[in-house]
Structures are given as structure tokens and as C-alpha cells.
């Protein structure tokens, strides 16, 4: 993974000093709350319901074991012994003291980490597929360009105070797992017919109050121009994006208002001035960045391992875990492993200090000392030998990290919700926990099959409810917490936004509502169909009828 040189290290060290002084001035009354807000937000610090929340950047989800250990130490020393992985592959801690944050940042800087631009109206952490570099369907490993873009966006002087937050995702696989269509800019890397690296550029996607999937603005951009092209897009947005109403300030609203043709024309007119200028990425710079992402020193192994096959045959619990949590790898004899942060009845994405140490140890022992965080809020060991899988499973299981539910109904994407977040209209974690307990029978869970259930506590949609096969949105009705249910959302190449099934529900109704949706699916499905396929084939009507039918009749 990327290793800092003197320039990178100086920038994070200077940032610690800068933020230390900003905090000092705030505590001394030299900065008002309003003036300090954008400064602390650009450093990932929110003032939340109970305490500040600090969001630590994990660039494109990559973590080294020593970084994980530092995060573990921070959760112990400055927090309450746990952290929370977010849907942007970052780590959040919920109980730091505002005056401790400069010290936390100083500790992070010692392991090449920071909290720069994890919030605020600026370019946020760039995200990608958690299987980057190892997926068999990968055409291009986009991490080198993601790193170049991370550096470009860090303290970008022109885009420090945009109308609203700005999220970029990159993907280099045939099957998109980075949800590029729901980002302000989505970059889909591919090779053209003459084997040249090209980028399909999507713009104006986003969830939140007005969910919109992105539109293609450029079909085939040569990679050298990615910075100048993004600068042109963001410059047009910076000047013309709305600043009078924060609900209408995202780039998606500007793109919709102008229409993609007019927006593209303005971007291209701007780009004409920037193209082929100093922002053009050189081959030498790409090569320098790419050196950090070379394949691991894999052993030459057979494609099969007899001890592994024997364990799968003799141990059903291990076999169930392999089925859900072990993933294909482009190197023969290796697999990727997802460590589930979704044990039933616990807040999705949460991890304790002790578990963080276990994960770091597993990475060192079995996966070249590296880890990834996924936007589904799980952790990945990307390079595990087949013959080591059983040992990994035993250790992960002992630490509560081996729930065999990846891709299943209880692998819920969930925001922190009303228990922590001051923006939330409703709690989300207790809903997730109640649903997980309703479907706690693993055989039944596997029988239901692949299903993505996403929960957001408000329309800001941190839990990506619009693209869940089942989406749950917390809403406020006369100061009471209610939940709106949608079905038919999907991420991936054939992304779609879910449709609301009808009036919302009280918290205690939610497990049975989900139960009823599942009953319709199980009854109606063809042998090959996943839940999403059945919804797409049948539409909302049968689901609505079963969920509301009896009650409405009574």
C-alpha cells in the first residue's frame, strides 16, 4: 500500500500543528462557533448528541496492521473501547473530547494517518472496491490514480469551501462494487480497444434528500487528463452551485437544473483551458504511485488444497462461513476473506479495541500485514492462502468476527442514527439489531439468500437506503420516530433506486414488516431468483398487499 515520503509526512505534521492552533483559538474564544465549524468539519470533527464524533480517513479503504493497532489504542485511550466503520470506508469514534483531538491527530500522524477532509464542504475521502488489486474481474487497479487524486484533493486551495460536500469513487472492475453512479463524480476505469487506459466519467449522482443516479459526462477520457477534467467539473460547480439552500447545493442539483448537455458544454469550455497543462499526469508520476500497489509476493500454489477441502466437507459451520465470507482471488491458491462486523444484535460496523488487535494480528499472520474496509462496513483480509483459511476462521470466530452473513439479510448497512447523530430523525441501530434477531436462524438466513438491507436514520442517507434491495428510512412524524420502507434498490452496474411501498411503520413493527416482505419473496421466487430479481419481475403490488393487506382490511 502507499507509504509516505518526506512530503506526505510533512503535510500531515503541519496539519496537526495547524489544527492544534485552531483548537486553541476556539477554546480561547478567538473563533466563534460558526467560524470554527468549517475548520473542525474539514478535520472530521462533528459535535454530536452526546460528545464530538471524529471521523478518521482510511484512503480508499486500505489499512496496514500497524495503523489498525494505532486505531485500537486510540479507541482505548480517548474513547470507550470501540470504533465504527462507516459507509465511506472510514473509522469513526464517538466519544473523543474536543480538546483531545489535536493529540489524537498527532498520534495518527505517526502511522501515516489523518482526518483531513473527512467532512465539510470539500472533496471527501475517495472510495473504491474493497477487492481492488485482487478481484478476478478487475481490468485496471485504480489505486495509483486514486492516490494521485487523494494528494491532489488534499488542501486543494480552490475547492476548500465548495457549496456542499463532494464525493468521488473509482472503480476498475467489470462488475462495479464502488457504486460510482451514486457519487458526485464516479470514475470507471477500462482499457480501450488498443489497450490504453481510459476513464468513463459519471457526474451528478448522490443519495440524500434527492436521490439521483449519475449521468455519463465523458465516455472515454485518457487517464492523463483525470485531474484537469475533474478540476473543470468542480470549478463549474464551485461557481454555479447553489449556496442559498444546503438541500439544493450538491452538484446533482446543478446538473439537473442545467441539463447534462449544457453542463457538459460548460465543463468542456473550461477544460479547454486546462487540458494538456501542468495538471496532466505524467507516466513517471503514475509509475511512482503504482510502485506502492504492486502485487503481493505470492507463493506459487496449486488451485486446490486438500486440507481445506476436507475441512469444508467435515465441518458445516466452516463450510457456511466459506460460502459467505470467502471470496475469489486472481492468484491461484489464495482467497479474500470478509471479517463480518455484523454479528446479530450488535451495531453494524462497530468493532471493539480487542477485536481491532485480533484483526491486526490476523493480517500480520495471514495477509501480508494489510487490511481493507468495505463500504458495506466490514473488514477484508485480501490475500489469505487456502491452507490458512481454517486457522483464520477459528481465530476470527473466537473474536466474534466470523458471522457467516456476508451478502445476506443481516449484513445490514446502517448509519449511527439517532443514538449518536444529531442530524438523525430516528434511531437506526436498534432497528438493525431487532431485524438481525428476527432472522437469527442461520439456516433460514442462507435459505433466503442474497439480500442487501440498508438503513438510514434520516434522508441524508448515510446508510444508502435508496440502493438497498430493502431500504429503511427513519422519518419524523410529530416528533415520533417512524420508518419508511422501500424495495427494489440496487448498487452495481444495473443500479436502481428503491420505491417506497406505502405508509411508514413504528419501530416495533419493523421486524414483522421485513418478515412479510421475505414471505412474499420465498413464496413467489423462481429457483434462480434473488430477492431483488423477484421485486423487479413482480413490482411492488404483491409485497404491498401482504404487508398492508390484513391490517387495512381489519
Amino acid at each position: 500500500m502507499y507509504k509516505y515520503d518526506a512530503i506526505d509526512q510533512t503535510i500531515v505534521d503541519e496539519r496537526v500543528a495547524q489544527y492544534r492552533d485552531q483548537t486553541r483559538r476556539y477554546l480561547a474564544g478567538e473563533l466563534s462557533d460558526d467560524e470554527f465549524r468549517p475548520l473542525r468539519l474539514q478535520n472530521g470533527l462533528y459535535i454530536q448528541r452526546h460528545a464530538p464524533m471524529l471521523r478518521i480517513a482510511v484512503p480508499y479503504g486500505m489499512l496496514a496492521s500497524k495503523q489498525m493497532r494505532k486505531l485500537a489504542d486510540i479507541t482505548k485511550k480517548y474513547d470507550r473501547g470501540y470504533g465504527h466503520f462507516s459507509t465511506r470506508q472510514n473509522l469513526q469514534i464517538n466519544w473523543p473530547k474536543l480538546e483531545d483531538v489535536p493529540e489524537i491527530l498527532a498520534e495518527l500522524a505517526t502511522v501515516e494517518m489523518h482526518a483531513i477532509q473527512t467532512s465539510g464542504n470539500c472533496i471527501r475521502n475517495i472510495t473504491t472496491d474493497q477487492f481492488v488489486g485482487i478481484a478476478p474481474d478487475e481490468v485496471v487497479d485504480p489505486r495509483a490514480i486514486a492516490e494521485i487524486m487523494r494528494q491532489w484533493s488534499t488542501f486543494h486551495p480552490e475547492f476548500a469551501l465548495l457549496p456542499r460536500k463532494f464525493k468521488i469513487a473509482v472503480s476498475g472492475t467489470k462488475e462495479d462494487r464502488a457504486v460510482v453512479q451514486m457519487h458526485d463524480i464516479g470514475l470507471e476505469f477500462f482499457k480501450d480497444s488498443s489497450d490504453q487506459l481510459r476513464i468513463k466519467v459519471w457526474v451528478g449522482g448522490g443519495l440524500g434528500r434527492t436521490p439521483i443516479l449519475g449521468t455519463v459526462i465523458e465516455e472515454s477520457l485518457p487517464w492523463q487528463h483525470v485531474l484537469s477534467y475533474c478540476e473543470a467539473i468542480i470549478r463549474i460547480y464551485n461557481i454555479h452551485g447553489r449556496r442559498d439552500n444546503s438541500y439544493k447545493a450538491r452538484i446533482k442539483i446543478l446538473v439537473k437544473a442545467l441539463g447534462i448537455e449544457e453542463f457538459k458544454q460548460q465543463v468542456e469550455a473550461e477544460w479547454a483551458h486546462l487540458k494538456d497543462g501542468p495538471l496532466t499526469i505524467t507516466q513517471a508520476e503514475l509509475d511512482r504511485a503504482a510502485k506502492h500497489f504492486e502485487p503481493m509476493p505470492y507463493e506459487t500454489l496449486p488451485a486446490y488444497d486438500t486440507s481445506f477441502d476436507a475441512a469444508v466437507t467435515s465441518n458445516p459451520a466452516f463450510a457456511a462461513w466459506v460460502k459467505r465470507c470467502v471470496h475469489v482471488h486472481k492468484q491461484a491458491g489464495y482467497r479474500a476473506v470478509t471479517l463480518s462486523l455484523k454479528p446479530h444484535g450488535k451495531p453494524p460496523g462497530d468493532i471493539t479495541t480487542e477485536q481491532m488487535h485480533v484483526v491486526a494480528d490476523l493480517a500480520d499472520a495471514y495477509s501480508f500485514g494489510e487490511l481493507r474496509a468495505s463500504h458495506e462496513q466490514n473488514l477484508i483480509l485480501a490475500d489469505v492462502k487456502l491452507s490458512d483459511l481454517f486457522a483464520v476462521w477459528e481465530k476470527a470466530r473466537a473474536a466474534g468476527l466470523a458471522t457467516p452473513n456476508i451478502g445476506l439479510l443481516t449484513d445490514i448497512i446502517c448509519c449511527p442514527g439517532g443514538d449518536f447523530c444529531s442530524l438523525a430523525n430516528a434511531k437506526s441501530i436498534p432497528i438493525a439489531e431487532a431485524i438481525q434477531m428476527q432472522f437469527d436462524n442461520l439456516d433460514y438466513l442462507h435459505e433466503i439468500g442474497e439480500l442487501e438491507l440498508n438503513i438510514s436514520g434520516c434522508m441524508n442517507a448515510c446508510g444508502h437506503h435508496h440502493v438497498g434491495h430493502i431500504g429503511i428510512l427513519g422519518v419524523d412524524k410529530d416528533s415520533e420516530e417512524w420508518y419508511q420502507v422501500s424495495i427494489g434498490g440496487k448498487q452495481g452496474n444495473d443500479a436502481s433506486l428503491g420505491s417506497v411501498i406505502g405508509r411508514s411503520f413504528a419501530a416495533e413493527e419493523m421486524p414483522s414488516v421485513i418478515q412479510k416482505l421475505i414471505e412474499v419473496y420465498v413464496q413467489q421466487r423462481t429457483p434462480e431468483e434473488r430477492f431483488i430479481d423477484t421485486v423487479r419481475r413482480l413490482g411492488l403490488a404483491p409485497f404491498k398487499a401482504h404487508v398492508y393487506g390484513e391490517k387495512e382490511a381489519a
Partner: protein, 202 residues
């Protein structure tokens, strides 16, 4: 009183900013830029009555809002020739309007950009355009809600003087012009880091 930072020091300000008077009449709001399909942006512009009532000092170097200059320029030609007039643009005013008025911006000794709110980052793009697109070489000043923590970004966006908000200590703010020594990206003041240093040697 607001203090002016220029060339890493506090200097005397020999320019007077001309501000149209507040009248009791209706607030005029303007659509921003080319985005005419938008609803009102809520940004206030000066009414004709305000512009008419603007009192222009008879002598000295003055900074005029662009609409005031446009309305009164016929009587200000000699002072422009004498280098006594600088122009102030608001962040919502299209840069093309300034460029249309002054095909060569360099006849102006000073351009000021009025930052209405700290969080309004359009001033950065405007600064960049004024320097790189229109090749302005004279003083580019940030005025209004200008605070210490914007200075580094303003400097990189082409500004070279900063009128710090009156209630803030300008002397301490100077330090923030140098918050970072080796920024990553290219801007008006430099090329991207990989064109500056051979990082593979570090």
C-alpha cells in the same frame, strides 16, 4: 479598524473602499452567472437608487464596486488614467462582466474580491481566473469576511493582499500564509508537487 496584510507584513492601506449607502428601498436580488435556469440565489445587488446615491470621494485612491464604476465611469476617466481607481467584484458577479468592461485587466492597479461570508469559496475560483485566464499582474485583494484560516488558500488562488476583518488580529494571521511548505497540487503559484521535486529520490 481592518488591517491590511501584504508581502507578509501589515502595511498602511492607501485605498478607500466606496460603499453604496443603505436605503430604505426594496432589496434587489440577482441570479448568479450563466445559470439562468436557477431560482434566485438570494444574493443582494445594489439598486439603481443606491448606485445613484453613492458618494464618490473627490480625491485619493478609491475602490469602486463594478456596478458603480459602470454607472459613473464617464466622469471618472481621468482618475482611472491616474491609477486612482480599483474595482471590487462580488463573488456572484460573473467574471465575464469584469472582463467585458476591461478587456485588459492590467489597466487596473487593484482588483478586490468581496467575500460576503467566510464559507463562500467562489473567491478562490475568481482569483484563479483573474490570474490565469485574464493574466492580471497587479494587486489582487480579498476584503470582507476575510479570516486567518483562509489565507493560505487565498494566497495559492492568486491573492496578494488581505484586508483582515476588523475584529481580528492581523499580525497573528500572517503566520497562516505559510501553514504548509510543500502543497501537493498545482495552483496559481506553483505546479503539482511531482513537477517540482523528484519524489522517487526522497
Amino acid at each position: 479598524m481592518s488591517q491590511l496584510i501584504k508581502k507578509n507584513a501589515i502595511v498602511a492601506d492607501d485605498w478607500t473602499r466606496v460603499i453604496p449607502p443603505t436605503l430604505g428601498d426594496e432589496v434587489v436580488r440577482k441570479q448568479a452567472g450563466k445559470v439562468v435556469l436557477f431560482k434566485l440565489h438570494g444574493e443582494e445587488t445594489f439598486s439603481q437608487a443606491q448606485i445613484d446615491a453613492t458618494d464618490i470621494p473627490a480625491t485619493g485612491k478609491i475602490i469602486l464596486p463594478l456596478p458603480v464604476w459602470i454607472a459613473k465611469k464617464t466622469m471618472l476617466g481621468a482618475r482611472m488614467d491616474a491609477g486612482e481607481i480599483g474595482i471590487l467584484v462580488a463573488t456572484h458577479e460573473p467574471i465575464e462582466q469584469l472582463a467585458a468592461e476591461f478587456p485588459d485587466l492590467n489597466i487596473l492597479p487593484l482588483i478586490a474580491v468581496f467575500v460576503e461570508r467566510f464559507a463562500d469559496g467562489r473567491n478562490f475560483t475568481l482569483g484563479n481566473w483573474i490570474r490565469t485566464r485574464y493574466h492580471f499582474k497587479n494587486e489582487l485583494r480579498a476584503v470582507g469576511d476575510v479570516l486567518r484560516d483562509q489565507l493560505f488558500f487565498l494566497k495559492r488562488s492568486g491573492y496578494d493582499s488581505y484586508l483582515i476583518r476588523a475584529d481580528r488580529n492581523a499580525q497573528e494571521a500572517i503566520a497562516s500564509l505559510n501553514d504548509f511548505n510543500h502543497p501537493y497540487q498545482g495552483a496559481t503559484d506553483d505546479v503539482p508537487v511531482w513537477r517540482r521535486v523528484n519524489r522517487s529520490q526522497l
